[in-house]
Subunit: 337 residues, 4 copies
């Protein structure tokens, strides 16, 4: 970190600032020039609050040289992380498809979907039991009953399951869930992240609608800083000015994750676009850009779905998309995880 | 709500759709034209998921005629709501200032700030005990100890206190807190909102960084639908493309709240701009646009603050801003609440 | 400007970079530290392309210490600029209202509007002759004929006129126009800006929908660098994610202009919100935040307007808003310019 | 187009509105229901200003059923358009690479780049002669001299050239330019678009930084409505809240163009990301999503480039990316155009 001092800063205050920094166990590199004086900080600056420093009366500006995340940072972990979940490998050359309905609706439905997506080649069954909905009057999911139905589908098909947690109060209910999803709206629910960090459950962390990539990495860091290294990142579209689609898939998130982090990155084209017809081209783009997996909404009867029907594929459409996915991950030299 | 059918929609499917809608206890108004057929729905459509309807194979589009929020909607509550908290009135002609440090740091500090802001005319002491921070390595607040210090400051000065809750797990700790704040990052933490809705505590709900006004109203609705009508809205800046300030204060939020809702709306110019020098002009703008209050960060020593120092006013600056506020609310015909 | 070098930068390349910088007539301040080496540049760095420098193989980062705009910068022009147009003063304590229809439609219409807005106290008549419309099939304005009608209205009422230019090809037609408007879509039409810079006409420069404040100042700089110092800035709403209003008025633009520039800043609440009912509260906010004027759309018959009817006030509404404006600028200690 | 009337609209005013609509040569389909009355319009509604209609006192809302663009609309032109430029085909199965420096700097430079990119397989030489720069003090391009150098490079290598026009005043200078680029900042410079529509030159239209897809199509429509059908669209990144990259490539633009328009769509990964290392993954994503070409910045010495150095590839990097491109377009079943 570099602190650029204001011209003609009061000497006593400079000494005072340096003393405070040294107390934080940082080495100081003081470079005084004719017009510009710079204090370089060596050591662990991750706890320093740049805003506070910037507000200091003798400071002109503060610049980070290194990223504020450590556990999630590729610099300190040059190799790709592979997360193992229920016998599946996720990351590096292992590609995974997480498929299923937005909401679990009934035993019949979830088992039918599970069987269909398994047959097409998906590795994980997704399905919402606790559903975050903008309106309190919309269907909120089957909750505990939904979890039970997912477990039944798991038992029936052998597929590991992934489902969203909405509160640390529910953690006990998720014991048999293979992969716990944190939704976009809870990406900065830090109490929840810390609780999940204290488990050793694999966490599937969705990027907030308007979160910067650094904020995204910092949320992963919240989980990892508590000791849980099993974090999978998921980009699901960002909020922009464009009115014709629900969100804009941020394809740049993939190369940014690959360069700055070692964690796997999965793309959710269903939520990104909000329409079923866009799932195929966005999936192709994601694979080509280097994604480690895709989360795709599939429904036995999208026209009748209780939530997010507009973006779900039916079984035939999903089967078609899976053929394309398999062909393309082979082209990329990857295998199903 | 109006459903516009696709041209030449299959008649049987139209009848089927109408039956499904009738089962939801809605009256149907079917208008068939030469080229366009429209189904009007009369009744409580707040539970209808427009996305599902839009995905229906015979539906071209769906349009809401009325807002999806009810309890928060001015239509069903034409008069301004006045929230009473610890003897203070908030809303309508009653203006309130919520002032204090971003974080509670020590007994000495919080009492000093409380006395200073009270002397200048603030009605509520704000102070963060549980702090949502982007980085897990940043100061996270004094937590329970911070709450205790706030209560000491309340006892010492008689000022009611407002502080942020980060988890429904902490609710018991907030029993003596006068006004519970839900932060921007938790605006769509629906589990938390529902729990707060089951209390009768006054809630101070901050708008999410990128939340639409409708989403903001819907989050208020989550609390109100559970029976707690004591909701105060707070606009604190939205995330845009502008890099020179932290957030852009959305001044339009004030007239929109006044037109579509009956709830009080408070502006937080400190977080909106992220710099102390902008607090005064933004406060003036907020009062003129019709805000019901201001939340302002004040610190005994902003240069040394442990968080958000750059945006805090010192005692003299706050005293100066309070003089301006008093003069201007008088001009608007309002009184301190 | 400060150039932060990469650790262990090749010495020869450092010398080479310094030589190149010296050739640009900049003084160099070289501060070598144990881990961080910084080159400070003193002199006119406005022509330096930071991106190029950043791409240099030995450079870690580049930071501007001063803003890249000079003529528009308050640092080099501490006093507020007052622009004089047709006997009116704009800026500092002089407040101005620019009112009229979005489009000039007929002689009868424009004269009726001119008389009405003059009577209510507006100083300038606005009216579009050349209209930038998103669709080539929408009404494009009466063009030259529209300009003639504006001049007739000017003659009939004595009001100076302001109207938008869409191409440097039309410059000759604008000879008798008092104040030339550059629309938001042309804020970065640099050829047009340069041509206008070569005139001495007062220019009313609207901020682009998604332009940063620095880009806004740089566009003013394009005009001023050619010698024309008569630039009035106008904020008219920015594009965000909010769907319920056309644009979001960026109220922060006012204090930013006041702090970093000396040019007058006018607010256009009509375009910012896109609805007539929001003009009054946004006007109040703009005056309180320190705006130097308001541009308001007024139409003799908003319901029948050929463009932008939804945001126009009728004569009675405008007269009412003008009463409020007069009362409030008096409160601010300002006078009509 | 559908006009939804307010409940209990005055009958006379309804008749009056219908008469006005009939005068626009539209067929009217009037559907009166118990609570909702809807007017359907059949015919060419592209000239109707929805904002005006919405402002009408008896109108509740107005909805377009069809897109406002016609010439650019796939509905009226189901087959992909292939644009032929200097013997190259662009669109459908024909993929093209437009490569070269951001700015033409010297004869030596532009010929060296032309030869290098030709050797690697690029079809078109790009190079800026007139450069739109945010700052008036930045290098503005060699202008006419730059055009002459491009023509020399064309003569030397036989490569067709593409370069940006910044004003209709310069049109005569572009006679020998094969493909005229309209930059993002001029996407809504409607005077320029119309002038280009009057030529038969192929136009390469870049999307504005914050333009919606509909606005993008409407700008193409401006050119096409004048008779020039030779329009190539180019997505080059949109402006969002993300600070770590220059712009976010909007990958969704590709499937949207393919679904709603018949025009070719080219991606500019260099400007989208603003850094050279991201060109390869974004190019892969663009090809997979169905793009018809790529515009890539290549410089003989990116470290010394006068503009946009940070995002340029050197010859070796470009040669490497071209190998990847060739392999991938073959996989997609496309050929170089």
């Amino acid at each position: 970190m570099i602190i650029i001092l204001k011209p003609k800063a009061n000497e006593e205050k400079v000494r005072d600032l340096i003393k405070r920094l040294e107390r934080m166990e940082l080495s100081i590199n003081y470079s005084e020039g004719a017009t510009t004086t710079v204090i370089g900080l060596i050591g662990d600056t991750s706890a320093i609050d740049m805003e506070i420093l910037r507000a200091h009366e003798i400071v002109a500006d503060v610049k980070r040289i290194t990223e504020p995340y450590k556990a999630a940072n590729r610099k300190f972990h040059p190799d790709d992380t592979i997360i193992e979940v229920a016998g599946h490998k996720i990351g590096q050359g292992y590609f995974n498809v997480f498929a299923g309905p937005c909401s679990v609706e009934s035993e019949e439905q979830i088992i039918a979907v599970a069987e269909a997506v398994k047959k097409s080649g998906a590795g994980f069954l997704r399905g919402g039991a606790f559903k975050p909905r903008t309106s309190p009057y919309s269907f909120q999911g089957l909750k505990e009953d939904g979890l039970k139905l997912l477990l039944k589908a798991k038992k029936a098909t052998g597929m590991p399951i992934i489902t969203e947690i909405m509160s640390e109060l529910h953690l006990a209910l998720f014991e048999d869930v293979d992969l716990i999803q944190v939704g976009a709206r809870n990406m900065q629910n830090f109490t929840l992240l810390k609780e999940l960090g204290r488990t050793r459950k694999p966490i599937f962390l969705k990027r907030g609608l308007s979160s910067t990539m650094e904020e995204f990495f910092m949320s992963a860091e919240y989980i990892m800083a508590e000791g849980n290294r099993n974090v999978i990142l998921c980009e699901r579209g960002i909020r922009t000015f464009e009115p014709s689609i629900r969100n804009n898939l941020d394809i740049s998130a993939i190369p940014i994750v690959k360069r700055f982090s070692h964690l796997p990155i999965v793309i959710d084209p269903s939520h990104a676009a909000g329409t079923a017809w866009m799932v195929e081209p966005l999936s192709k783009a994601a694979i080509a850009a280097g994604a480690d997996g895709l989360m795709i909404e599939v429904h036995n009867n999208p026209k009748e779905a209780l939530s997010d029907g507009a973006q779900s594929l039916d079984f035939d459409e999903f089967s078609h998309v899976m053929e394309i996915i398999k062909e393309r991950i082979a082209f990329e030299g990857k295998v199903m995880g």
